[in-house]
Point group: C2
Chain length 461, copies 2
């Protein structure tokens, strides 16, 4: 590890310069006008992988944004690790709240600020550089590596499953390694063994055939914004519980052992509240904050719009109003069954005088891993080695639909080694990534890759 | 009248060409980027008045958009009429729903389509052309005329009262004549004797100090859009009644005589519903549609926005959400007192974990006229003469705050002679104005101006 640590120190400036180039590409997968930028990011990674010493770099086409593949398969008889990451990023609005432009990476206070820095270009890039360090210092890797870096994670990984299925032999491996989760705290590395799933939909509500003047029509006709507000307010009880019939059916409750473990983890509600400048926290009664985040489902209004949004006043009765909604799902919930239940609820509660269109969007299944697997236990040792702190086992409230996809398709262990922090504004203005975790994370990954063959055994899949 | 009717026929093409030029100016008073266009419309009218034979044309500055003044005061001993109108228009969004661009006037099916065609550039322009016809055919007017055409009607006439007060002698008159109301139906001229007032405000709700990732935070923190929905849904009961404490206090109830008169007016709920393509009408229980529109107050959500509005999904917990709201008020309600009550309601019902800013915007008082005044009765005769149909007396659900301003400042009768129709999409895409009413209205106005001195008497004010 000494030569490798020196290599990482010597090449740090080069690594950061290259990461900045990657972060400068506005690869926003949700916005069609950025389609070219998404491809540009894929090409950048393909070239970066080749430069790092990987072979067979390829832009694998899908019905949506492409997947970047590359491999190093010169360790016959050794296990094969598939490294998954994503090069697409979230939209950047509201743009005016960014302190530096989202696609002009800026390093301040040992943090790199840019959209995608933490989610997930930074962590994905670290795998390339960790393996490059081993290749350059040892002349070879101790195991076989395949990369699968997709461009649709932020829009539900719509076409990845099809691509994996179509090229199953190409992506076949003994283990999947993913760095797209968070650590519990800056100096508390953690191995995530559970993720929430996702169900997404949009509601488009219409009333009259045109916006109407509130003086001429006000009082006698339905108002689409008012009707949408009335409809959306039926989705939750005042205490925050979701009131959709059957929403909680089948939810796997936390075991007493898990609740005990979570209660011991470092978390302070008051500090958490203060860090967000919130007057109060708010969540489902009967659960702690960590339980709410990791093991309870949600129904969140991600966006709402209708009628006049300009300066001043406009005395209009809007004839259409829209809501964008996603649910975080936990083990025991199926995305399609949940959408069926919500659609039935919406149909039942649509106000008189309104019509509603319910549009389903891409979702993903929740996931729960067996955390006693030796490859998962080794991840904890790797963190401990690099950070000097005992790693803990946690779940995460986010969704990585592809985890469930890999699980169902390849039936192999999935190891989630996160280096991001939950306050790094992934989906908000001023996203950033800690360079401290960049440095320690590179060492963690090198240690992990070097030792993985011993715990996985030498049997190829 | 024969010479005048011939004049109107002979000059019809010129009149429409000049009206199109006026309608081509995007004088949207609510949007600061159109400030120059608003002034351009004022200048256009000032020049048009001078060309028509009026004197002392002047752009009267205010703290906001200017007022256009011009006069013809060469009938000493005769009464003076102040003609009020407005040259500002509503915003045009959603732009994609316009069949022809809002500021490229287009005549189809004997309707002129453009923003402002019906509200209020068309009707205001008719007064200039009616008086020009009399001037050119008779060589003089039978009474004195002053014009007061403002540029802030669509934003609550914020600075007109100050301008009238500052130039009280200039605007002093014996009667105010306004064409900014609607007729009951295409061939049913009507004199409006009552208007609703307006109270306007904005709610800005905030939760955390940033948008948050719904995977990392979902379930444990308040969501601004969810909180706003919850708050707004407290403003109405399920049947549409407004639930703000004291909102209906002091409301002047309709007399049994008025309810009888309204019941006789031509109105068909089913045809009205069908014309709007509505699944159902919706309004306060216990009142007919006309009663709801003319004599009952409202609280309308004119616009709502918060969180993600783009294509696809964004798994964000929004930290701010906004609503734009206006109330239509009826006699017995004071705009400031109503806003006090609503603000108290909002404060009381703000959800835990949220903070709300309540911003008051310009409003206006409701108005009720004595409709047995001879100048109002003459208006009915003028319509009957031009349309061949008996005019009826109605109220209107809209607000013209300046009516109350004139009433309080000058203590003179205000005559509301409308030529627009309620389905002409005033504040919506595809605003239009009937050229049939343009033609008949010009004759109505000429008859009215020619006969007004006989009913008003010859006493100057």
């Amino acid at each position: 590890m000494e030569a490798i640590e020196r290599h990482l120190r010597d090449h740090r400036e080069d690594h950061l310069a290259q990461l900045k180039s990657l972060l400068s590409i506005p690869s926003i997968s949700a916005l069609s006008e950025h389609k070219g930028d998404v491809r540009k990011a894929a090409q950048f990674l393909s070239e970066a992988l080749t430069e790092a010493g990987f072979q067979n770099a390829e832009i694998v086409e899908t019905a949506g944004h492409p997947v970047v593949y590359a491999d190093w398969l010169n360790a016959p008889g050794k296990p094969t690790v598939l490294v998954y990451g994503h090069y697409d990023v979230q939209p950047v609005d509201p743009l005016h709240l960014w302190q530096s432009p989202p696609f002009e990476p800026d390093i301040r206070d040992n943090q790199i600020y840019a959209r995608g820095a933490s989610d997930d270009k930074g962590p994905t890039f670290m795998h390339i550089k960790a393996l490059e360090a081993i290749l350059q210092e040892h002349g070879e890797l101790p195991l076989n590596i395949k990369f699968c870096i997709e461009g649709e994670e932020e829009v539900g990984s719509a076409h990845l499953a099809d691509a994996l299925e179509a090229h199953k032999a190409k992506f076949q491996a003994d283990l999947v390694l993913i760095s797209d989760t968070t650590m519990l705290a800056p100096d508390q590395p953690s191995i995530c063994y559970g993720l929430r799933g996702l169900a997404a939909f949009q509601i488009d509500l219409r009333t009259a055939n045109s916006d109407l003047h509130s003086g001429l029509y006000g009082g006698a006709v339905p108002n689409a914004v008012h009707a949408l507000v009335e409809l959306l307010d039926t989705l939750h009880a005042p205490d925050g519980t979701i009131t959709v019939d059957g929403f909680y059916d089948g939810v796997v409750e936390l075991s007493p052992a898990e609740r005990d473990e979570y209660a011991k983890l470092p978390h302070d509600d008051e500090a958490y509240r203060q860090s967000l400048d919130l007057p109060a926290l708010h969540g489902e009664p009967g659960y702690t904050t960590l339980e709410r985040l990791w093991a309870r489902p949600t129904l969140e209004l991600n966006g709402i719009y209708g009628g006049f949004q300009g300066e001043g006043t406009k005395t209009v009765i809007p004839n259409e109003a829209h809501a964008k909604i996603t649910c975080r799902l936990v083990p025991g919930q199926d995305p399609n069954a949940i959408l069926d239940r919500i659609e039935a609820h919406i149909t039942k509660h649509t106000p008189v005088g309104s019509t509603v269109t319910f549009t389903r969007q891409e979702g993903g299944h929740p996931y729960l891993a067996p955390y006693d697997h030796p490859a998962i236990q080794l991840a904890a040792q790797a963190y401990t080695k690099a950070y000097g702190v005992q790693a803990v086992f946690t779940r995460m409230g986010g969704s990585i639909p592809v985890v469930e996809t890999f699980s169902q398709l390849f039936h192999i262990p999935i190891v989630l080694m996160g280096f991001g922090l939950s306050d790094e504004n992934f989906h908000a203005p001023n996203e950033h990534f800690s360079l401290d975790n960049f440095d320690k994370g590179l060492r963690t990954l090198c240690y992990y890759y070097l030792n993985l063959p011993t715990v996985l055994g030498n049997e190829p899949n």
